[in-house]
Each structure stands twice: as structure tokens, then as C-alpha cells.
């Protein structure tokens, strides 16, 4: 068992785990029927799924002797941007009333997505 072979085993393991999670994300997207619940599967399962695939790429690059750390950067940007897109899809769902309308907030007037500017309100 040379380090290379052990490395290859780890690459395989990470690839299998990663693709498993991505598959589950896709199944979730197909299975649920409400736009809001649908949002959950790809946004979360996707991050670890893709994270694992990128980790496999890092391990492989060290394994073949050409170390690469670009993948860590991809992971960082993915973790920063995934919540933003999820938030926007959620906002669109609320705005188009594609989901149950959420209960009113206890402390303020309304949710910012549902609030209408004063100039546009009907008399």
C-alpha cells in the first residue's frame, strides 16, 4: 500500500459521497411539489455534495504531485453565494404567492417583499 494507492482510495470515497449527495439533491428537487420545500434539497445537499467532489479534486492533485488549492476558493465562494440565491428564490415565491403566505411579523408592519411603496398604495 503506497501513499498513492491510499490517496486514490480516498479520492474514490469522496467522489462517491459527493455524487451521492448531489443525487439526493436532484431527487429532492423532483419529489417535492411545493416551491418552498423544493428549494431545500438543492441549496443544502448541493453544498456538501459539490464540496466533497472538490475535496476529491484537491486530494487527487496532491496524489499526482501537482498540488492545487483552487478548489478551496471555489468552496468558499459557493458557501458565500448559495444562501443569496436561495434567499432570492424564496423572495420570488413569496412575491408571486406561489407558496403559503407567511404570517405577519409581530414587531413590524409586513415583510419587506410584500410591502408596497406608499406612492403605489390604493387610496
Amino acid at each position: 500500500m503506497t501513499p498513492q494507492i491510499i490517496g486514490t482510495y480516498f479520492v474514490c470515497l469522496f467522489l462517491i459521497i459527493g455524487s451521492g449527495f448531489v443525487l439526493v439533491g436532484a431527487i429532492g428537487l423532483l419529489k417535492f411539489n411545493d416551491p418552498m420545500t423544493r428549494l431545500h434539497a438543492p441549496t443544502k445537499v448541493g453544498t456538501v455534495g459539490i464540496g466533497m467532489l472538490l475535496l476529491a479534486s484537491v486530494v487527487h492533485s496532491f496524489d499526482i504531485g501537482e498540488p492545487s488549492t483552487h478548489e478551496l476558493l471555489i468552496m468558499a465562494f459557493l458557501f458565500v453565494t448559495a444562501p443569496i440565491s436561495a434567499n432570492f428564490i424564496g423572495k420570488v415565491n413569496i412575491h408571486r404567492r406561489a407558496c403559503d403566505t407567511p404570517p405577519d411579523p409581530p414587531l413590524d408592519d409586513t415583510w419587506s417583499t410584500l410591502s408596497v411603496p406608499e406612492s403605489d398604495r390604493d387610496g
Partner: protein, 166 residues
């Protein structure tokens, strides 16, 4: 001296992060690249300072690092939980819910961090903020006890963020 430092580098942390990102992009470590990374790290915050009106008054880096590890661990656990829900719970038995988290955080940066954390962890997506910014709307994928989820968010994440930004 300190005034000159803050005039040149208004956001020291941002400068450091930009320099590190540049080095990762280059995929190699040489003196020239480090110097160039820091030059970028000084120029970019300087040019974009118009869009950074108020920096949070305090930011505790060590607590932030600990918080990141808590969140990474939660993300891994959450992924397994959500994967399990996707595979085993039939759509008709799924119990999604809206929950409202009252916010004690004031800084926009802190609220953004909390919303991002919520989206990345256990079956929750932060969907909206109330118009005056006092509560956060969160959608839960599958829960029998919405209050427990809210308590969890408040004690586990918001309390820590309050400490980081206090």
C-alpha cells in the same frame, strides 16, 4: 501613525482576505505574488470604500473562527438529516412551516451572517426580512415543533453572533 494606517488600510481584515484569495488564485507562493496580493488588498477596499459606509464597531475574530467551526459541523450534520428526509419522508407526510425569528442583532453584516448560516444549516431557508428589520422569516422543511427550531436558532447562532459583534 494609527491614523495613517487606517487611512491607507480602512478595512485591515478585507485587505488580508483579498491578499489570501489572490495567493490561492495564483496557486503558488512567491514573494512577488504576496506583495502584489497586498497591493490589490489595499487598492480594492480603497476604491470600493463608498459601498462600505459603516463598518461594525467591533468584530471578534477568535469567536468568529470558533463560530465557523460550529457552522461547518452543523452543515455536515444538516446535510445528512436533509438527505434522510428527502429519501424517507413521503411528500404527503412532510410538514413544512414558516417560523419567525425576532432579531436582537442590529448590524446589517450580522443579520446577513445569521441569514446565511440559517440557509446553510438544518432544513431551514431564510426567506425574508420584515420591513423594519426586526424579524427574520425562515422556512423549515420538516418539523413537528417549530418553537424548538426557533429556540435552536436563537441560542445556537444568534447568541454567538451577538457576542462576535458586541
Amino acid at each position: 501613525m494609527t491614523r495613517a494606517f487606517y487611512w491607507l488600510i480602512p478595512h485591515p481584515l478585507l485587505t488580508l482576505i483579498l491578499a489570501i484569495v489572490w495567493m490561492f488564485l495564483q496557486n503558488e507562493l512567491s514573494a512577488g505574488m504576496i506583495v502584489f496580493g497586498f497591493i490589490l488588498g489595499i487598492i480594492i477596499p480603497w476604491g470600493t470604500s463608498v459601498w462600505w459606509p459603516d463598518t461594525p464597531k467591533s468584530f471578534r475574530l477568535r469567536k468568529m473562527i470558533r463560530y465557523s467551526f460550529v457552522v461547518i459541523w452543523d452543515i455536515i450534520v444538516a446535510n445528512i438529516e436533509v438527505a434522510w428526509i428527502v429519501l424517507t419522508v413521503p411528500t404527503s407526510k412532510l410538514k413544512p412551516a414558516w417560523i419567525i425569528v425576532p432579531l436582537r442583532l442590529k448590524e446589517p453584516e450580522a443579520i446577513t451572517l445569521l441569514a446565511g448560516t440559517i440557509t446553510l444549516t438544518p432544513g431551514t431557508v431564510s426567506a425574508d426580512l420584515s420591513d423594519q428589520g426586526h424579524s427574520l422569516l425562515v422556512h423549515v422543511l420538516h418539523t413537528h415543533d417549530a418553537d424548538a427550531v426557533r429556540e435552536d436558532i436563537i441560542t445556537r447562532y444568534e447568541a454567538r453572533l451577538l457576542e462576535i459583534f458586541s
